[in-house]
Protein backbone atom coordinates (compact mmCIF):
# COMPACT_ATOMS: atom_id res chain seq x y z
CA UNK A 1 0.00 0.00 0.00
CA UNK A 2 2.83 2.42 0.81
CA UNK A 3 4.21 2.03 -2.70
CA UNK A 4 0.79 2.79 -4.22
CA UNK A 5 0.48 5.79 -1.92
CA UNK A 6 3.91 7.05 -3.01
CA UNK A 7 2.95 6.98 -6.68
CA UNK A 8 -0.45 8.51 -5.93
CA UNK A 9 1.13 11.46 -4.18
CA UNK A 10 3.79 11.79 -6.89
CA UNK A 11 1.06 11.79 -9.57
CA UNK A 12 -0.95 14.47 -7.80
CA UNK A 13 2.21 16.59 -7.34
CA UNK A 14 3.02 16.33 -11.08
CA UNK A 15 -0.58 17.25 -11.90
CA UNK A 16 -0.46 20.32 -9.66
CA UNK A 17 2.93 21.35 -11.05
CA UNK A 18 1.59 21.12 -14.60
CA UNK A 19 -1.53 23.09 -13.70
CA UNK A 20 0.61 25.83 -12.15
CA UNK A 21 2.75 25.98 -15.29
CA UNK A 22 -0.28 26.11 -17.58
CA UNK A 23 -1.77 29.02 -15.70
CA UNK A 24 1.38 31.02 -14.95
CA UNK A 25 3.71 30.59 -17.95
CA UNK A 26 3.47 32.75 -21.07
CA UNK A 27 5.39 30.95 -23.87
CA UNK A 28 3.17 28.52 -25.73
CA UNK A 29 5.77 25.72 -25.87
CA UNK A 30 6.15 25.76 -22.08
CA UNK A 31 2.39 25.70 -21.65
CA UNK A 32 2.12 22.71 -24.01
CA UNK A 33 4.76 20.88 -21.94
CA UNK A 34 2.87 21.83 -18.76
CA UNK A 35 -0.33 20.25 -20.08
CA UNK A 36 1.62 17.09 -20.87
CA UNK A 37 3.07 17.00 -17.34
CA UNK A 38 -0.46 17.36 -15.99
CA UNK A 39 -1.54 14.46 -18.18
CA UNK A 40 1.33 12.27 -16.98
CA UNK A 41 0.36 13.06 -13.40
CA UNK A 42 -3.24 11.94 -13.95
CA UNK A 43 -2.13 8.79 -15.75
CA UNK A 44 0.25 7.97 -12.90
CA UNK A 45 -2.61 8.34 -10.41
CA UNK A 46 -4.76 6.06 -12.54
CA UNK A 47 -2.06 3.39 -12.90
CA UNK A 48 -1.34 3.55 -9.16
CA UNK A 49 -5.06 3.13 -8.39
CA UNK A 50 -5.19 0.14 -10.74
CA UNK A 51 -2.27 -1.52 -8.91
CA UNK A 52 -4.05 -1.59 -5.55
CA UNK A 53 -5.29 -5.18 -5.92
CA UNK A 54 -3.29 -8.34 -6.69
CA UNK A 55 -4.65 -8.41 -10.29
CA UNK A 56 -4.21 -4.93 -11.74
CA UNK A 57 -7.54 -3.42 -12.82
CA UNK A 58 -7.72 -3.68 -16.65
CA UNK A 59 -10.44 -1.00 -16.94
CA UNK A 60 -8.09 1.64 -15.52
CA UNK A 61 -5.37 0.56 -17.96
CA UNK A 62 -7.81 0.87 -20.86
CA UNK A 63 -8.69 4.37 -19.69
CA UNK A 64 -5.02 5.35 -19.53
CA UNK A 65 -4.38 4.05 -23.06
CA UNK A 66 -7.38 6.01 -24.39
CA UNK A 67 -6.21 9.07 -22.50
CA UNK A 68 -2.72 8.76 -24.02
CA UNK A 69 -4.19 8.67 -27.54
CA UNK A 70 -6.19 11.81 -26.81
CA UNK A 71 -3.14 13.52 -25.27
CA UNK A 72 -0.90 12.74 -28.25
CA UNK A 73 -3.37 14.01 -30.87
CA UNK A 74 -4.11 17.13 -28.86
CA UNK A 75 -0.39 17.83 -28.36
CA UNK A 76 0.28 17.46 -32.10
CA UNK A 77 -2.51 19.92 -32.85
CA UNK A 78 -1.29 22.39 -30.21
CA UNK A 79 2.30 22.23 -31.55
CA UNK A 80 1.11 22.88 -35.10
CA UNK A 81 -1.02 25.82 -33.98
CA UNK A 82 1.82 27.37 -31.96
CA UNK A 83 4.27 26.97 -34.89
CA UNK A 84 1.75 28.59 -37.26
CA UNK A 85 1.25 31.41 -34.77
CA UNK A 86 5.02 32.11 -34.55
CA UNK A 87 5.54 31.86 -38.34
CA UNK A 88 2.77 34.38 -38.95
CA UNK A 89 4.46 36.74 -36.50
CA UNK A 90 7.76 36.51 -38.37
CA UNK A 91 6.30 37.40 -41.76
Amino acid sequence: MTQVLFYLILGVCLWALGLYGLLRLKESIRRIISVNIMGSGVFMVMVALAARSEDPDPVMHALVVTGLVVAISATAFALRLSVADVQEDDQ
Binding site: S28, V42, V45, L63, A74, L81, D85
Partner: protein
Protein backbone atom coordinates in the same frame (compact mmCIF):
# COMPACT_ATOMS: atom_id res chain seq x y z
CA UNK B 1 -32.91 4.32 -30.12
CA UNK B 2 -32.17 3.52 -33.78
CA UNK B 3 -33.21 7.01 -34.81
CA UNK B 4 -30.93 8.54 -32.18
CA UNK B 5 -28.02 6.41 -33.40
CA UNK B 6 -28.68 7.57 -36.95
CA UNK B 7 -28.61 11.17 -35.70
CA UNK B 8 -25.22 10.41 -34.14
CA UNK B 9 -23.67 8.52 -37.07
CA UNK B 10 -24.89 10.65 -39.99
CA UNK B 11 -22.75 13.72 -39.19
CA UNK B 12 -19.74 11.54 -38.36
CA UNK B 13 -19.92 9.70 -41.68
CA UNK B 14 -20.49 12.92 -43.59
CA UNK B 15 -17.39 14.41 -41.99
CA UNK B 16 -15.32 11.35 -42.92
CA UNK B 17 -16.68 11.34 -46.50
CA UNK B 18 -15.89 15.02 -46.96
CA UNK B 19 -12.35 14.48 -45.69
CA UNK B 20 -11.72 11.35 -47.77
CA UNK B 21 -13.21 12.77 -50.99
CA UNK B 22 -11.46 16.11 -50.41
CA UNK B 23 -14.81 17.71 -51.01
CA UNK B 24 -15.96 20.92 -49.31
CA UNK B 25 -19.54 20.75 -50.49
CA UNK B 26 -21.95 22.77 -48.40
CA UNK B 27 -25.00 21.27 -50.11
CA UNK B 28 -24.10 17.78 -48.90
CA UNK B 29 -23.81 19.05 -45.32
CA UNK B 30 -27.16 20.82 -45.54
CA UNK B 31 -28.83 17.65 -46.80
CA UNK B 32 -27.22 15.60 -44.01
CA UNK B 33 -28.23 18.17 -41.40
CA UNK B 34 -31.81 17.96 -42.62
CA UNK B 35 -31.75 14.15 -42.41
CA UNK B 36 -30.16 14.39 -38.93
CA UNK B 37 -32.93 16.74 -37.86
CA UNK B 38 -35.55 14.27 -39.09
CA UNK B 39 -33.84 11.38 -37.27
CA UNK B 40 -33.63 13.46 -34.08
CA UNK B 41 -37.29 14.40 -34.35
CA UNK B 42 -38.18 10.74 -34.81
CA UNK B 43 -36.17 9.81 -31.70
CA UNK B 44 -38.04 12.53 -29.78
CA UNK B 45 -41.35 11.01 -30.86
CA UNK B 46 -40.09 7.54 -30.02
CA UNK B 47 -38.98 8.48 -26.50
CA UNK B 48 -42.21 10.33 -25.77
CA UNK B 49 -44.27 7.28 -26.76
CA UNK B 50 -42.08 4.43 -25.51
CA UNK B 51 -40.20 6.02 -22.58
CA UNK B 52 -36.43 6.14 -21.87
CA UNK B 53 -34.24 3.56 -23.58
CA UNK B 54 -30.74 2.14 -23.13
CA UNK B 55 -28.32 0.69 -25.61
CA UNK B 56 -25.42 -1.42 -24.37
CA UNK B 57 -22.62 -1.08 -26.88
CA UNK B 58 -21.13 -4.42 -27.92
CA UNK B 59 -23.71 -6.22 -25.74
CA UNK B 60 -21.51 -6.06 -22.64
CA UNK B 61 -23.48 -6.12 -19.41
CA UNK B 62 -23.00 -3.26 -16.91
CA UNK B 63 -20.76 -2.28 -15.11
CA UNK B 64 -18.31 -3.00 -17.95
CA UNK B 65 -20.72 -1.69 -20.55
CA UNK B 66 -20.58 1.72 -22.11
CA UNK B 67 -24.26 2.55 -22.24
CA UNK B 68 -26.03 5.05 -24.43
CA UNK B 69 -29.16 6.47 -22.84
CA UNK B 70 -32.03 8.05 -24.66
CA UNK B 71 -34.09 10.18 -22.31
CA UNK B 72 -36.67 12.82 -23.26
CA UNK B 73 -34.22 15.63 -22.50
CA UNK B 74 -31.52 13.92 -24.61
CA UNK B 75 -33.87 13.68 -27.56
CA UNK B 76 -34.86 17.31 -27.15
CA UNK B 77 -31.19 18.34 -27.16
CA UNK B 78 -30.58 16.22 -30.27
CA UNK B 79 -33.35 18.09 -32.06
CA UNK B 80 -32.08 21.42 -30.76
CA UNK B 81 -28.50 20.89 -31.92
CA UNK B 82 -29.63 19.57 -35.32
CA UNK B 83 -31.82 22.65 -35.78
CA UNK B 84 -29.04 25.11 -34.95
CA UNK B 85 -26.57 23.19 -37.09
CA UNK B 86 -28.93 23.20 -40.08
CA UNK B 87 -29.54 26.92 -39.72
CA UNK B 88 -25.83 27.73 -39.47
CA UNK B 89 -25.03 25.46 -42.41
CA UNK B 90 -27.61 27.25 -44.59
CA UNK B 91 -26.13 30.57 -43.49
CA UNK B 92 -22.54 29.48 -44.18
CA UNK B 93 -23.48 28.25 -47.66
CA UNK B 94 -25.83 31.07 -48.57
CA UNK B 95 -24.52 34.35 -47.20
CA UNK B 96 -22.37 36.60 -49.39
CA UNK B 97 -20.30 37.59 -46.38
CA UNK B 98 -19.72 34.07 -45.13
CA UNK B 99 -15.98 33.41 -45.11
CA UNK B 100 -16.43 29.70 -44.61
CA UNK B 101 -17.91 28.65 -47.94
CA UNK B 102 -15.18 26.46 -49.46
CA UNK B 103 -13.14 25.77 -46.34
CA UNK B 104 -12.66 23.03 -43.78
CA UNK B 105 -15.69 24.43 -42.00
CA UNK B 106 -17.90 21.70 -43.44
CA UNK B 107 -16.18 18.52 -42.19
CA UNK B 108 -15.31 20.21 -38.89
CA UNK B 109 -18.84 21.38 -38.18
CA UNK B 110 -20.12 17.87 -38.92
CA UNK B 111 -17.55 16.44 -36.49
CA UNK B 112 -18.65 19.00 -33.94
CA UNK B 113 -22.26 17.96 -34.28
CA UNK B 114 -21.37 14.27 -34.14
CA UNK B 115 -19.34 14.63 -30.95
CA UNK B 116 -22.02 16.78 -29.36
CA UNK B 117 -24.67 14.17 -30.15
CA UNK B 118 -22.43 11.49 -28.63
CA UNK B 119 -22.12 13.66 -25.52
CA UNK B 120 -25.91 13.99 -25.15
CA UNK B 121 -26.35 10.21 -25.51
CA UNK B 122 -23.53 9.11 -23.16
CA UNK B 123 -24.06 8.43 -19.51
CA UNK B 124 -20.58 7.41 -18.46
CA UNK B 125 -17.89 9.57 -16.83
CA UNK B 126 -15.04 8.49 -19.10
CA UNK B 127 -17.07 8.53 -22.30
CA UNK B 128 -17.91 12.12 -21.47
CA UNK B 129 -14.19 12.89 -21.20
CA UNK B 130 -13.64 11.50 -24.71
CA UNK B 131 -16.60 13.37 -26.20
CA UNK B 132 -15.49 16.58 -24.46
CA UNK B 133 -12.05 16.25 -26.05
CA UNK B 134 -13.56 15.62 -29.49
CA UNK B 135 -15.82 18.61 -29.06
CA UNK B 136 -12.94 20.81 -27.88
CA UNK B 137 -10.60 19.81 -30.72
CA UNK B 138 -13.27 20.42 -33.37
CA UNK B 139 -14.19 23.76 -31.78
CA UNK B 140 -10.56 24.96 -31.67
CA UNK B 141 -9.98 23.97 -35.30
CA UNK B 142 -13.11 25.92 -36.25
CA UNK B 143 -11.88 29.01 -34.42
CA UNK B 144 -8.52 28.77 -36.23
CA UNK B 145 -10.36 28.93 -39.59
CA UNK B 146 -10.41 32.71 -39.48
CA UNK B 147 -6.69 32.85 -40.11
CA UNK B 148 -3.61 34.28 -38.49
CA UNK B 149 -5.29 36.62 -36.04
CA UNK B 150 -7.22 33.73 -34.53
CA UNK B 151 -4.23 31.42 -33.95
CA UNK B 152 -3.35 33.00 -30.61
CA UNK B 153 -6.87 32.82 -29.11
CA UNK B 154 -7.33 29.33 -30.63
CA UNK B 155 -4.14 28.04 -28.99
CA UNK B 156 -5.12 29.56 -25.66
CA UNK B 157 -8.57 27.96 -25.96
CA UNK B 158 -7.02 24.60 -26.81
CA UNK B 159 -4.56 24.62 -23.90
CA UNK B 160 -7.13 25.72 -21.34
CA UNK B 161 -9.58 23.17 -22.69
CA UNK B 162 -6.96 20.41 -22.38
CA UNK B 163 -6.06 21.53 -18.87
CA UNK B 164 -9.75 21.55 -17.91
CA UNK B 165 -10.16 18.02 -19.28
CA UNK B 166 -7.27 16.83 -17.15
CA UNK B 167 -8.78 18.42 -14.03
CA UNK B 168 -11.99 16.58 -14.89
CA UNK B 169 -10.08 13.36 -15.57
CA UNK B 170 -8.39 13.43 -12.16
CA UNK B 171 -11.86 13.67 -10.63
CA UNK B 172 -13.00 10.72 -12.74
CA UNK B 173 -9.95 8.68 -11.63
CA UNK B 174 -10.74 9.39 -7.96
CA UNK B 175 -14.43 8.52 -8.44
CA UNK B 176 -13.55 5.28 -10.19
CA UNK B 177 -10.92 4.45 -7.58
CA UNK B 178 -13.51 4.92 -4.84
CA UNK B 179 -16.55 3.19 -6.39
CA UNK B 180 -15.23 1.05 -9.26
CA UNK B 181 -17.94 2.10 -11.75
CA UNK B 182 -18.15 4.88 -14.32
CA UNK B 183 -21.81 4.71 -15.29
CA UNK B 184 -23.65 7.68 -13.84
CA UNK B 185 -26.86 5.83 -12.93
CA UNK B 186 -24.89 3.07 -11.16
CA UNK B 187 -22.82 5.72 -9.35
CA UNK B 188 -25.99 7.49 -8.24
CA UNK B 189 -27.05 4.43 -6.26
CA UNK B 190 -23.63 3.98 -4.60
CA UNK B 191 -22.21 7.39 -3.75
CA UNK B 192 -21.75 8.48 -0.15
CA UNK B 193 -20.93 11.92 1.19
CA UNK B 194 -17.29 11.34 2.15
CA UNK B 195 -14.09 13.31 1.51
CA UNK B 196 -12.95 11.38 -1.58
CA UNK B 197 -16.33 11.82 -3.24
CA UNK B 198 -16.34 15.48 -2.37
CA UNK B 199 -12.88 16.05 -3.88
CA UNK B 200 -13.72 13.99 -6.97
CA UNK B 201 -16.98 15.84 -7.62
CA UNK B 202 -15.41 19.24 -7.11
CA UNK B 203 -12.52 18.43 -9.44
CA UNK B 204 -14.96 17.33 -12.15
CA UNK B 205 -17.07 20.44 -11.53
CA UNK B 206 -14.08 22.81 -11.81
CA UNK B 207 -12.96 21.19 -15.07
CA UNK B 208 -16.46 21.42 -16.53
CA UNK B 209 -16.91 25.01 -15.37
CA UNK B 210 -13.73 25.98 -17.21
CA UNK B 211 -14.95 24.16 -20.31
CA UNK B 212 -18.35 25.81 -20.20
CA UNK B 213 -16.80 29.24 -19.48
CA UNK B 214 -18.82 29.60 -16.28
CA UNK B 215 -17.73 32.47 -14.05
CA UNK B 216 -14.92 32.84 -12.80
CA UNK B 217 -13.40 30.66 -15.54
CA UNK B 218 -14.82 32.58 -18.49
CA UNK B 219 -11.84 34.71 -19.51
CA UNK B 220 -10.93 32.66 -22.58
CA UNK B 221 -14.42 32.75 -24.11
CA UNK B 222 -14.83 36.31 -25.42
CA UNK B 223 -11.52 36.27 -27.30
CA UNK B 224 -12.13 32.83 -28.82
CA UNK B 225 -15.77 33.42 -29.77
CA UNK B 226 -15.18 36.92 -31.09
CA UNK B 227 -12.20 36.01 -33.26
CA UNK B 228 -13.95 33.05 -34.95
CA UNK B 229 -15.83 33.38 -38.28
CA UNK B 230 -19.49 34.34 -37.81
CA UNK B 231 -20.96 30.90 -38.49
CA UNK B 232 -18.51 29.36 -36.02
CA UNK B 233 -19.24 31.93 -33.29
CA UNK B 234 -22.91 31.06 -33.58
CA UNK B 235 -22.19 27.32 -33.25
CA UNK B 236 -19.82 27.83 -30.31
CA UNK B 237 -22.09 30.10 -28.31
CA UNK B 238 -25.33 28.31 -29.07
CA UNK B 239 -24.15 24.71 -28.74
CA UNK B 240 -20.61 23.97 -27.56
CA UNK B 241 -20.77 25.61 -24.12
CA UNK B 242 -24.00 23.68 -23.40
CA UNK B 243 -22.23 20.31 -23.57
CA UNK B 244 -20.24 20.63 -20.30
CA UNK B 245 -23.31 22.19 -18.69
CA UNK B 246 -25.29 19.04 -19.51
CA UNK B 247 -22.62 16.84 -17.90
CA UNK B 248 -22.55 19.10 -14.85
CA UNK B 249 -26.31 18.72 -14.50
CA UNK B 250 -26.21 14.92 -14.83
CA UNK B 251 -23.27 14.74 -12.42
CA UNK B 252 -24.98 16.61 -9.61
CA UNK B 253 -28.63 15.73 -10.08
CA UNK B 254 -28.10 12.03 -10.77
CA UNK B 255 -24.66 11.01 -9.54
CA UNK B 256 -24.02 12.99 -6.37
CA UNK B 257 -25.38 12.18 -2.90
CA UNK B 258 -28.03 14.66 -1.75
CA UNK B 259 -25.92 16.13 1.08
CA UNK B 260 -23.10 17.04 -1.28
CA UNK B 261 -25.50 18.58 -3.78
CA UNK B 262 -27.15 20.70 -1.10
CA UNK B 263 -23.71 21.81 0.08
CA UNK B 264 -22.45 22.74 -3.42
CA UNK B 265 -25.66 24.34 -4.67
CA UNK B 266 -25.24 27.82 -3.12
CA UNK B 267 -21.64 28.09 -4.40
CA UNK B 268 -22.76 27.45 -7.98
CA UNK B 269 -25.77 29.75 -7.66
CA UNK B 270 -23.60 32.61 -6.34
CA UNK B 271 -21.13 32.05 -9.20
CA UNK B 272 -24.15 32.28 -11.53
CA UNK B 273 -25.17 35.66 -10.12
CA UNK B 274 -21.57 36.91 -10.36
CA UNK B 275 -21.50 35.80 -14.01
CA UNK B 276 -24.73 37.67 -14.69
CA UNK B 277 -23.49 40.90 -13.18
CA UNK B 278 -19.79 40.91 -14.16
CA UNK B 279 -20.30 39.37 -17.62
CA UNK B 280 -23.09 41.88 -18.27
CA UNK B 281 -20.87 44.73 -17.06
CA UNK B 282 -18.11 43.73 -19.52
CA UNK B 283 -20.71 43.55 -22.30
CA UNK B 284 -21.78 47.08 -21.42
CA UNK B 285 -18.22 48.38 -21.60
CA UNK B 286 -16.65 46.65 -24.62
CA UNK B 287 -16.24 48.71 -27.82
CA UNK B 288 -16.46 45.64 -30.11
CA UNK B 289 -19.75 44.23 -31.34
CA UNK B 290 -18.83 40.55 -31.35
CA UNK B 291 -17.19 40.83 -27.90
CA UNK B 292 -20.43 42.31 -26.64
CA UNK B 293 -22.36 39.28 -27.88
CA UNK B 294 -19.70 36.93 -26.48
CA UNK B 295 -19.77 38.58 -23.04
CA UNK B 296 -23.53 38.30 -23.10
CA UNK B 297 -23.04 34.53 -23.47
CA UNK B 298 -20.97 34.58 -20.26
CA UNK B 299 -23.73 36.53 -18.53
CA UNK B 300 -26.58 34.36 -19.81
CA UNK B 301 -24.80 31.17 -18.77
CA UNK B 302 -25.07 32.65 -15.29
CA UNK B 303 -28.84 32.09 -15.36
CA UNK B 304 -28.36 28.43 -16.26
CA UNK B 305 -25.72 28.00 -13.54
CA UNK B 306 -28.00 29.69 -11.02
CA UNK B 307 -30.89 27.42 -11.99
CA UNK B 308 -28.57 24.41 -11.54
CA UNK B 309 -27.25 25.64 -8.19
CA UNK B 310 -30.72 26.35 -6.78
CA UNK B 311 -32.02 23.07 -8.14
CA UNK B 312 -29.33 21.31 -6.11
CA UNK B 313 -29.70 23.54 -3.05
CA UNK B 314 -33.48 23.26 -2.71
CA UNK B 315 -33.66 19.79 -4.28
CA UNK B 316 -36.39 21.02 -6.63
CA UNK B 317 -36.62 18.93 -9.80
CA UNK B 318 -39.09 21.53 -11.13
CA UNK B 319 -36.11 23.81 -11.81
CA UNK B 320 -34.90 21.31 -14.43
CA UNK B 321 -37.46 22.86 -16.74
CA UNK B 322 -36.07 26.34 -16.05
CA UNK B 323 -32.50 25.19 -16.73
CA UNK B 324 -33.31 23.55 -20.06
CA UNK B 325 -35.60 26.33 -21.18
CA UNK B 326 -32.70 28.74 -20.56
CA UNK B 327 -30.44 26.53 -22.63
CA UNK B 328 -32.91 26.32 -25.53
CA UNK B 329 -33.91 29.99 -25.44
CA UNK B 330 -30.32 31.18 -25.13
CA UNK B 331 -29.11 28.88 -27.92
CA UNK B 332 -31.73 30.13 -30.37
CA UNK B 333 -31.39 33.79 -29.39
CA UNK B 334 -27.60 33.67 -29.47
CA UNK B 335 -27.47 32.01 -32.90
CA UNK B 336 -29.71 34.79 -34.15
CA UNK B 337 -27.64 37.49 -32.47
CA UNK B 338 -24.27 36.26 -33.73
CA UNK B 339 -25.51 35.87 -37.31
CA UNK B 340 -27.07 39.34 -37.22
CA UNK B 341 -23.95 40.87 -35.63
CA UNK B 342 -21.69 39.14 -38.16
CA UNK B 343 -23.77 40.36 -41.08
CA UNK B 344 -23.95 43.88 -39.70
CA UNK B 345 -20.22 44.16 -39.14
CA UNK B 346 -19.40 42.59 -42.52
CA UNK B 347 -21.67 45.05 -44.36
CA UNK B 348 -20.48 48.04 -42.36
CA UNK B 349 -16.83 47.10 -42.65
CA UNK B 350 -16.25 47.88 -38.98
CA UNK B 351 -16.15 45.76 -35.86
CA UNK B 352 -17.06 48.57 -33.50
CA UNK B 353 -20.40 48.94 -31.75
CA UNK B 354 -20.36 52.65 -32.60
CA UNK B 355 -20.52 51.82 -36.34
CA UNK B 356 -24.08 50.61 -35.84
CA UNK B 357 -25.46 54.15 -35.77
CA UNK B 358 -28.63 54.33 -37.86
CA UNK B 359 -28.69 50.66 -38.88
CA UNK B 360 -32.47 50.49 -38.38
CA UNK B 361 -32.61 52.55 -41.57
CA UNK B 362 -29.86 50.88 -43.58
CA UNK B 363 -30.32 47.24 -42.51
CA UNK B 364 -33.67 47.01 -40.70
CA UNK B 365 -34.14 43.23 -40.82
CA UNK B 366 -30.75 42.38 -39.33
CA UNK B 367 -31.17 44.97 -36.59
CA UNK B 368 -34.69 43.71 -35.92
CA UNK B 369 -33.28 40.17 -35.52
CA UNK B 370 -30.68 41.48 -33.06
CA UNK B 371 -33.31 43.36 -31.06
CA UNK B 372 -35.82 40.50 -31.01
CA UNK B 373 -33.14 38.04 -29.87
CA UNK B 374 -32.02 40.60 -27.29
CA UNK B 375 -35.59 40.80 -26.02
CA UNK B 376 -35.50 37.11 -25.23
CA UNK B 377 -32.12 37.48 -23.50
CA UNK B 378 -33.53 40.23 -21.30
CA UNK B 379 -36.57 38.05 -20.63
CA UNK B 380 -39.32 40.23 -22.07
CA UNK B 381 -42.67 38.44 -22.19
CA UNK B 382 -43.78 36.42 -24.10
CA UNK B 383 -40.38 35.10 -25.22
CA UNK B 384 -38.65 31.83 -24.32
CA UNK B 385 -36.27 33.75 -22.06
CA UNK B 386 -39.25 35.09 -20.11
CA UNK B 387 -40.69 31.60 -19.63
CA UNK B 388 -37.39 30.31 -18.27
CA UNK B 389 -36.99 33.25 -15.94
CA UNK B 390 -40.55 32.90 -14.69
CA UNK B 391 -39.97 29.23 -13.87
CA UNK B 392 -36.79 30.16 -12.01
CA UNK B 393 -38.56 32.91 -10.05
CA UNK B 394 -41.61 30.83 -9.12
CA UNK B 395 -40.08 28.93 -6.15
CA UNK B 396 -38.57 32.22 -4.90
CA UNK B 397 -41.96 33.88 -4.63
CA UNK B 398 -43.22 31.07 -2.43
CA UNK B 399 -40.77 31.61 0.44
CA UNK B 400 -39.92 34.98 1.94
CA UNK B 401 -36.32 34.03 2.79
CA UNK B 402 -35.44 33.62 -0.86
CA UNK B 403 -35.43 37.34 -1.62
CA UNK B 404 -31.61 37.75 -2.13
CA UNK B 405 -31.81 35.50 -5.19
CA UNK B 406 -34.57 37.64 -6.63
CA UNK B 407 -32.36 40.72 -6.25
CA UNK B 408 -29.60 38.89 -8.16
CA UNK B 409 -31.96 38.06 -11.01
CA UNK B 410 -33.26 41.63 -11.09
CA UNK B 411 -29.74 43.07 -11.31
CA UNK B 412 -28.86 40.60 -14.06
CA UNK B 413 -31.99 41.52 -16.02
CA UNK B 414 -31.22 45.22 -15.66
CA UNK B 415 -27.70 44.76 -17.03
CA UNK B 416 -28.93 42.55 -19.91
CA UNK B 417 -31.41 45.27 -20.81
CA UNK B 418 -28.54 47.76 -20.61
CA UNK B 419 -26.32 46.03 -23.15
CA UNK B 420 -29.14 45.18 -25.54
CA UNK B 421 -30.58 48.72 -25.48
CA UNK B 422 -27.09 50.16 -25.84
CA UNK B 423 -27.02 48.64 -29.33
CA UNK B 424 -30.69 49.22 -30.17
CA UNK B 425 -30.63 52.90 -29.10
CA UNK B 426 -27.60 53.50 -31.30
CA UNK B 427 -29.32 51.79 -34.21
CA UNK B 428 -32.30 54.14 -33.92
CA UNK B 429 -30.06 57.21 -34.05
CA UNK B 430 -31.00 57.93 -37.65
CA UNK B 431 -29.81 61.52 -37.90
CA UNK B 432 -26.43 60.60 -39.34
CA UNK B 433 -26.41 56.86 -40.22
CA UNK B 434 -23.11 55.10 -41.00
CA UNK B 435 -23.42 54.01 -44.67
CA UNK B 436 -22.66 50.32 -45.33
CA UNK B 437 -19.41 49.73 -47.26
CA UNK B 438 -20.67 46.51 -48.80
CA UNK B 439 -24.10 45.57 -50.08
CA UNK B 440 -26.22 43.99 -47.33
CA UNK B 441 -27.33 40.40 -47.90
CA UNK B 442 -31.09 40.29 -47.33
CA UNK B 443 -31.30 36.50 -47.36
CA UNK B 444 -28.82 36.24 -44.48
CA UNK B 445 -30.72 38.90 -42.54
CA UNK B 446 -33.98 36.97 -42.77
CA UNK B 447 -32.10 33.80 -41.82
CA UNK B 448 -30.79 35.53 -38.70
CA UNK B 449 -34.33 36.56 -37.81
CA UNK B 450 -35.64 33.00 -37.99
CA UNK B 451 -34.33 31.57 -34.66
CA UNK B 452 -35.29 34.80 -32.88
CA UNK B 453 -38.86 34.33 -34.04
CA UNK B 454 -38.75 30.68 -32.94
CA UNK B 455 -37.73 31.82 -29.44
CA UNK B 456 -40.74 34.09 -29.26
CA UNK B 457 -42.84 31.28 -30.73
CA UNK B 458 -41.88 29.11 -27.71
CA UNK B 459 -44.34 31.20 -25.72
CA UNK B 460 -47.21 29.92 -27.87
CA UNK B 461 -46.54 26.31 -26.84
CA UNK B 462 -45.38 27.22 -23.33
CA UNK B 463 -47.92 25.20 -21.38
CA UNK B 464 -47.42 21.81 -23.04
CA UNK B 465 -43.68 22.47 -23.17
CA UNK B 466 -43.42 23.15 -19.43
CA UNK B 467 -45.60 20.16 -18.59
CA UNK B 468 -43.49 17.99 -20.82
CA UNK B 469 -40.23 19.28 -19.31
CA UNK B 470 -41.34 18.98 -15.69
CA UNK B 471 -42.70 15.50 -16.38
CA UNK B 472 -39.25 14.40 -17.52
CA UNK B 473 -38.36 11.36 -15.43
CA UNK B 474 -34.77 11.37 -14.31
Amino acid sequence: MTAALIALLLPLFTALCLLLLRSRSGVLVIVTSLLTLLAAAWSLYDVTVNGPQWLELGDWPPPLAIRFQLQPITALLLVFSAMIHLLVAVYAAGSQHSKTRYTDFWPLSCLLQGSLNALWLSGDLFNWYVTLELLGLAAVALVALSGRKAYGPALNYLLLSLGASLVYLLGVALAYGRYGVLDISLLGAMTEADTTTRIAWWLMTLGLMLKAALWPFHLWLPRAHASAPTAVSALLSALVVKGPLFILWRLWSEGAPTELAVEAGPVLAVAGIAALILGGWSALRTPWLKSLVAYSTVAQLGYALMALGLLMYWQLPALDAALWLFVLAHGLAKASMFLAAGELQASLGSKRVSALRGTTETMPVAMFAFAVAGGSLIGLPPSGGFLAKWLLLEPMFETVNHWPWVVGILLGTLISAGYVFRVVALAFDRADPVPPDFSPDRFAHWLALLPALVVWGLALISEPLIHWLTGVPL
